[in-house]
Symmetry: D3
Subunit: 128 residues, 6 copies
């Protein structure tokens, strides 16, 4: 679809995994959200995540911190996986959510910690 899309799709797959990204992009074709998926890949991933001013690990850390503050569980679970792929340990991810108790309150921290446990359990249960 063009250079920005291709560059964005490559970073998006690197961070979130080849299979789930391919599935989301293809299932969106002909659908209401096809254009949203395209802008997401081009702008969010092709323009912003591709910039070199922050490492991918720094971007993952900023992303899960922003999603923790905003109360967005589906996207947070996706990006917990992305943070692990970008070099954070699950203990560091959990530590970000503990840190959120100070800046967003304990309810936010506890919601995020539940999601982190679900992601950790799903990854342990997955075949090697």
């Amino acid at each position: 679809m063009g250079e920005r899309f291709d560059k964005g799709l490559a970073v998006r797959k690197q961070v979130l995994g080849e299979a789930p990204v391919a599935q989301r992009v293809s299932s969106a074709q002909g659908e209401l959200n096809a254009d949203l998926q395209q802008y997401l890949t081009e702008f969010a991933w092709g323009d912003i995540w591709s910039r070199r001013q922050l490492s991918l690990r720094d971007r993952s850390l900023a992303t899960i911190a922003m999603l923790a503050a905003q109360n967005r569980p589906t996207e947070l679970k996706t990006h917990i996986g992305g943070a692990i792929n970008n070099g954070m340990t699950m203990e560091e991810v959990a530590e970000v959510f503990l840190h959120a108790a100070v800046y967003c309150g304990f309810p936010a921290a506890m919601t995020c910690m539940r999601l982190a446990r679900e992601v950790a359990a799903a990854r342990e249960g997955a075949p090697g």
Copy 2:
């Protein structure tokens, strides 16, 4: 006031600067917010910021990301300064706010960028 307070005060001064922290703590004595200042030092700084599971730079990055999402300008300006003290460059701080355009929307990103410029201008104008 105890070990947690002392440890917290040390980290708080390391991150936010000796003079402004001393000023805030002392001006709070006998005031409505004296207890809040004490819990802030003991819990936020003595318990959480003092943990070694994340670097101080990582904690600053998480903090400004959470404050950007929450629309808290006064605290964000304080922690932009803290992020610089913890090893981030002003360009990296600005990049976090650019990243926020994707996850919190452009109005959040633009508000934060204005605050970053104010902090940058104040630091350039300060005596060496």
Copy 3:
């Protein structure tokens, strides 16, 4: 119950459908939320939605935009249906959520788009 209630109930049924509104109002009788349902009908629908300064389509557009920004999935699904009844196409509804990527961030846009697809699928599956 009075003129404001009657006027509000009529607009509410026009926008959200006869059967679901009748069901919600009657099931609330004798319950904790009976008074809330009455105020909702009188104030939200009888006072505000009944005003002529904006068309019903404009009010639906404002409503789904506000609910998208606030992360309120149950009410958003109700009002996606209301927007269709007030003359928006499903493509226009989806376009509002694409627009939300700019002003509320991509996570908000993606959450809303999922809900729009659910409403669209439910309406297609419903008997004619």
Copy 4:
């Protein structure tokens, strides 16, 4: 303007003070927000604040807690004054904001505490 308006205006003046409420209502006449002021008096004060299921002090406590969580400084300052008029001490108001450190995070608590100090200072400086 009717029974609900009169009842609401009486409660509103009881809680927020005779002079400031009279000023706000009269200055709104012929203005953009005249209708908003009317609905505020009729619905918020005439319908809801006038109900006897919670004491006025309980309603003030709930109001400042909700405004603390929402980051609405102008309305929060108005309702800190209302809480004092409804029987809370300034120390109890400050304690609600300390409590907010747990449920909304320290930045919310610190912002609210600053506003409480401003209201306390203004009241001390006012003629007896």
Copy 5:
């Protein structure tokens, strides 16, 4: 684990019930959120909830008001139960959520009312 933990655990059990608190604390051991549970008990319950400047009923009222404004359903259901244990009636809890229609909007009020009905139904169905 120390005096703050013991004091906090006692208040936490008094408000939220012996069995559920014991279950949450023990199930967290060795897990990602063990430290979060400890800070929650020490700081939120041992430091803040244990203070005498507000009654337990006032703290419950402030807590459900803050959680209503923040859209945190899991924690809100927990604290609806706590509010009942601290002397609020279910009708008073529902009245707080009706009050939220004024300060947080009707969608917030309706979401909270649904949760209150679920808690009320669960308590009625529980063995005596």
Copy 6:
């Protein structure tokens, strides 16, 4: 800078005015937020605002509704002006904020109404 930038700059100037947009873009050069201004023009205006699936008036209506819900005063004032340029009357803008009383609460509605009055006063005071 490319086709998307040029198209976006044209729409942005059409909606927000030639002079203020030129000023913002040029003052950002060589500054921290130069890249943010570029993405704003390319993505927000060149990609999204340029789409034909919603009229410019509909996009302005959605934008002020989203900003009202999010509590973003600076951007809201900018887009109140944009809404007028896109064919809304000031009375319709105020009606959107009255509508916000239902969906976001009265504090949000009152904050927005104050901003609308400021914009209206500034426009009346401006030379013809």
